[in-house]
Symmetry: C2
Subunit: 484 residues, 2 copies
């Protein structure tokens, strides 16, 4: 028997299995609504189905594809189900999936302009488009003093902004010599946990993150911010960074950017605005009020991978002054030197992010924007907001439930009036059933249920069914309690 | 006219365009060898082909697909060409591309076990497989005290390791209160630039990174390391971290892990081993000598996305003590609390990395391992090493060229004996021609050419043609110089 001369999949095999997998995904889209949303497996159940040792010999690809249904699917929590109302949407779409496929097929590294000019230039261009689509300040455009870059997540965007702020405030002294424990940053108890993590990563220390009081809408109190900055300066500390949220994770609270921004400007503090989910709403002129005051921001991010039909990872991160960012993160070893970089005429995105390597993520964003057009994106975002407002109406009209926070956009925070225990039981029983999946937070110390509405295929019927299911579960629990 | 009720791509449209794109990629694989490897465009040329404003109305998807050839392809540097010998391989494969496609189609978030148990458990399992496949120390397995996780890049793995080292050394004091400027780390001038960047990001300062002398093979001198540690301790500093390279970026130099490890053990310093490209060689028993001494390491990483036919991003990062890592990076806000996390029976990978979100990257790794089997991967890695050794033989036998460093595996560092200028001209002229693409570094202050051999479809004929081309170019330049 002759020895095998190649183990690679041939282009014809790729064609065959690729078509099969595309069909599998199309079928999945059509049946995902019928699958239990929250995976029903116990810890270890998926691993137990996998062979303990890696295969010595290659296996037929048809067997591998068959295992998607047998091994993988039971362990999937279906984020793409129209009955998924947990966390945040993470809605994907056909054009976005195909953009990821093309990116994988080209297999390019976009760390430098020269390593694939299209990877860099399409990214710069689509991010400039986003500035226009969301009516963000002009300074965030690459044609002005700033520019945009795709980060993997808002966590990384926040960290990157914090680092640039740290270095701008210290004339690059921390990059050179390390931290001092004297720099402080500001947010609220409602700010995403990634900021606390970023403070730790950046060597600034979580004790140097000040949590400013919030008002009754869970938004930052600008007067409390000003007071805290004054106290810190009096104590010999240096305020360097404020993270304001446009749409907090817990309740979609919107921090008052005009007042916060004015303080940051006069105090010369870097203002980062995190609009991870809510930013997408600014596609529609009627929701652009959420960005009032954004002209004060030094950096801004929102995640097309949350609510703009684009696959994770795609966080759109903008800075007003790209030089501050590049000077913070640039390192140029000999093996990356090249004429294009030396000329200064190109962007090398490795200097705009934590890792060196990067894939061609702008393709999916480009596909999404072109497929939907601005009007298509607006249409679906409006639909999501309308559904959430409808849900909020039902809660308001109910005797048993109440709203727990304002509902500016597509997230409804609500609770049963019977206290934490019943809310916990409603959520756990429904989630365990697989009928829908929603999650919780705490507001004012009380357990609060969250309906996050924005999956690609979520329609009013799914939201109606969810509300009916929640009401019925509450009644069932109360009925049982009376009997017991 | 009625209003449109949905702008989404239907499953049938997805089927149609998905098949078309799969076919495009199969065709691309078949013709990529005929395309100029290094993109021939000038800065701004790709952007100039893009409309200045985003489209208001959606466009037919067929038009979008047509623009791949018109707009994108001229700006692509073809990393998947068999004539690509630059930087590092980044070789992809059919099964890996399909793994990415499935990941995109499922669109799950793997930040917590509960957000898709299969995403977490398949990752843990395939990384345990890798420990076995590379014969890494048992302690890196999840069934022991450690475990593996997929990071986006070796840069992020190094940063993550550095953070865990920082916190272990200070009893989590920097996480709490910020940096002190008193912690030092060790590497060599040949260590990847991401470590310097990590020192800056982590608030430790690049001045606190000690570059230890290298020997004639560009590997770290363990005696020099011991001396520097002693000097730093005498100066009141705290050594916390050594980064040893198994295969440096410039020349594939292999730091002496047994000697370095013994020092780290007695000095209680975290040892991180970066085998980004070279680690894959350990699939083959005859190359496992590169990992001698790895039993001393606290953490280790290699990149299946470099040389194991797996799409970026897929860095396999292992720690010996997962508790140190988790305690460094864990943050648990209310909205992420759940029963499975509380039980302690599951891994939540968000605590093993910088960002919160993560996609289902284990699928592509699983597809690759199962499609090739261990023997298939070994076969191709051996072929790459053989080709590089053959190229090195040609250089050794040549009058005009010389080797610039040992050639342990698949990277050949060489140069024309005529000095920097002619080497620079050879490289620039060939790269500009599009016939092949290779890059340079500096060793011993001299410009050095690098042939990195490991693309999926690179065969001996491509390497032969490259060598012939390089020789011919040198002769042409010299001929002209004599005439002028």
């Amino acid at each position: 028997m002759g020895k095998q001369s190649s183990f690679h999949m041939t282009p014809d095999e790729f064609r065959m299995y690729g078509h099969a997998l595309v069909d599998w995904i199309a079928d999945y889209q059509q049946r995902v609504a019928t699958l239990p949303v929250l995976s029903q497996v116990q810890p270890g159940e998926i691993r137990a189905m996998l062979p303990p040792h890696p295969p010595t010999h290659g296996e037929p690809f048809a067997d591998i594809l068959a295992d998607i249904d047998r091994v993988i699917l039971p362990g999937v929590t279906h984020w793409q189900s129209p009955n998924f109302f947990a966390y945040f949407p993470a809605n994907v779409s056909g054009p976005s999936i195909l953009g990821e496929l093309l990116s994988a097929g080209l297999g390019v590294q976009g760390m430098l302009w020269i390593t694939s000019p299209a990877c860099t230039e399409l990214e710069t261009h689509t991010l400039d488009w986003l500035v226009e689509m969301l009516a963000l300040p002009e300074k965030f455009k690459s044609t002005s003093t700033g520019g945009g870059v795709i980060q993997d997540s808002a966590s990384s965007a926040t960290l990157t902004a914090l680092l640039a702020a740290r270095e701008r405030a210290t004339n690059f002294a921390i990059n050179r010599a390390g931290g001092t424990g004297k720099l402080v940053a500001y947010a609220t108890s409602q700010t995403h946990s990634s900021l606390e993590k970023a403070m730790m990563i950046a060597g600034l220390g979580r004790d140097n993150l000040r949590l400013i009081d919030v008002d009754e809408t869970y938004a930052m109190r600008a007067d409390a911010l000003a007071d805290q900055i004054a106290r810190d300066r009096a104590a010999g500390l240096t305020p360097i960074f404020v993270c304001a949220s446009v749409g907090t994770t817990s309740s979609n609270a919107i921090d008052p950017l005009p007042a916060i921004g004015a303080i940051c400007q006069s105090e010369q503090i870097w203002l980062h605005v995190d609009a991870a989910m809510a930013g997408t709403a600014a596609l529609c002129p009627e929701f652009r009020w959420i960005h009032a005051g954004l002209e004060y921001a030094d950096s801004y991010c929102f995640n097309p991978h949350k609510w703009m039909f684009t696959n994770f990872d795609c966080d759109a991160f903008f800075v007003a002054d790209r030089t501050a960012l590049i000077n913070t993160l640039s390192i140029l070893p000999e093996y990356l030197r090249n004429e294009a970089t030396k000329s200064g005429a190109v962007i090398d995105y490795r200097d705009w992010q934590i890792p060196l390597g990067r894939r061609f993520r702008a393709l999916k964003l480009w596909f999404v924007i072109r497929h939907y057009g601005v009007e298509g994106l607006q249409f679906h975002v409006r639909q999501h907001v309308q559904m959430a407002q409808q849900f909020a109406e039902w809660v308001r009209a109910s005797d048993a439930f109440e709203l727990a926070a304002p509902v500016p956009l597509n997230l409804v925070c609500f609770r049963h009036k019977g206290g934490d225990a019943i809310n916990q039981r409603i959520m756990e029983r429904i989630n365990r059933s697989g009928d829908l999946f929603f999650t919780h937070t705490k507001l004012d110390g009380k357990l609060t249920l969250r309906m996050s509405i924005g999956q690609t295929h979520t329609q009013l019927e799914h939201v109606q069914r969810a509300w009916a299911r929640i009401q019925a579960e509450a009644q069932a629990i109360q009925g049982r309690d009376e009997v017991i």
